[in-house]
Symmetry: C2
Amino acid sequence: MAVYTEVTDDALADFLSGYDIGTMVAFRGIAEGVENSNFSLRTTAGDFILTLYEKRVDPDDLPWFLGLMEHLALHGLVCPQPVHGRDGLALRQLCGKHAAITTFLPGVWPRRVRQSHCAPVGTALAKLHLAGADYAPARKNALGPQAWQPLLDRCRGRADEIQDGLAQELDRSLDAILSGWPAGLPVGHIHADMFPDNVFFLDEKLSGVIDFYFAATDLLAYDIAICLNAWCFEPDFSFNVTKSRALLASYQSVRPLSQDEQDALPVLCQGAAIRFLLTRVFDWLNTPSGAMVTRKDPMEYLRRLRFHMSATDGRAYGL
Amino acid sequence: MAVYTEVTDDALADFLSGYDIGTMVAFRGIAEGVENSNFSLRTTAGDFILTLYEKRVDPDDLPWFLGLMEHLALHGLVCPQPVHGRDGLALRQLCGKHAAITTFLPGVWPRRVRQSHCAPVGTALAKLHLAGADYAPARKNALGPQAWQPLLDRCRGRADEIQDGLAQELDRSLDAILSGWPAGLPVGHIHADMFPDNVFFLDEKLSGVIDFYFAATDLLAYDIAICLNAWCFEPDFSFNVTKSRALLASYQSVRPLSQDEQDALPVLCQGAAIRFLLTRVFDWLNTPSGAMVTRKDPMEYLRRLRFHMSATDGRAYGL
């Protein structure tokens, strides 16, 4: 649930006067997204999304994110496009926050993942990886493997408040993951957060990908591992290998995986699971009561992690 | 911030098949409104709002609310219109909740009230009162004067947790208000919640009124008192008599107030202030920590109440 900043009508009208997109027709806060404040904005020229970047996003990264979205769209991926103001700038200020207007993307994100969603997700992810190939600047993944040990260090003392023995299990798993982390796999720009609520569908077809604010430069196959975690577990946390096979096969139809990438899939999936597990544990322990954000249950990712820790090779994922 | 119920895409597609409004194009939760779950819904036929009625609304009242909205629109007030399904029904079920689709109303609610907003609000309120005149059924105001003493009884024991002496001040004020409450004033259907976030403006003109889920049958002038509380105080809680005069004059240009109504304005405003004060005190003391709803500061209404307690006649409001 995310509207952290109240935008007055005067401030908004003033802000819009910097653009050539007509005058305001409607303006409503959007309940989705937890990192930024998002508003649905209709003007006489059409529909847009207004985003105010809140504290979790580093302002220095914003031009990279917006530039990536433009680059990906130029290379065939459907995603929101930053709208430039009369002065040519897409990144502006509103109510003391960094702000940008992007185009509105039709579609609905799947509240319940069906098998038919998984192949399009694989295709879109592979296209995203290829389309990003010649976007020159790199962005370090702030939540990549080098971040996990420090994150665990900040949670260890209180992790057992969530579940008895959690600290020890995290220590043991993370040691194994980091010592087995692959070197030499293909690197590129990854979405890093391609969860169902960031992928829109329309008439059963994938209509676009949103929310590039975790995107970074990292192992491409790690992005697949994030998707396997996000799309292929059932509500009871059993792993649906049919979904996984569909996702991987369609990914490979666009960008085939090397043998090394295939072999690394278990540890990459373990890493993806522990990355979300650690941030959820951290948020769980550090979200003030009364906050307007729903805390996500970290244990969902412990269940996923345990599955991946038991996987020995790519066959567990339908390869 | 209000999306309490997650609607799956399957359930929504099934729900939409009961209507003649095309197929889904976009679907986003709306961050505004605290009583119900609201979604912005775009179909191939246009834009709509989907509302799921949550626990605070009595399902037996829903046909009355939806009927009132249709009646008011037929008589010239711009407000959302319930969309009827193929079977003729506007009130349906979705995800185990009562649900309705209404038309989308263009406009933006004023985050900062300017004087220019107040005359249109007065006009719209008077039109609403006249338009409702021949809507036959009555609905008891569940938050009218008869509800205030029981509400205070449920808060008294803990009211001083919010501010020292609050319980005593509430007791004394409520005694005075109830003993001075007017009899014999004109009765009709009132909106009862015409706050800035329920009134849309477009190009400086009032474009519509939303959220009729507190509407009831009660003293018409009491509805004006609610608006004076909602629209005419400055952020520092000083009363802006210029705004009040504008609101009252434009109201009277459509429906002149009787002398009795004018004389009752102070006590009606006191009643309106204590009604919102009491529900906020109750919510403050009873909102679980971690709830997704922002608790509204009750003290804002104590400040308003004190102003009205000092008013002796209509001149305090610019009459």
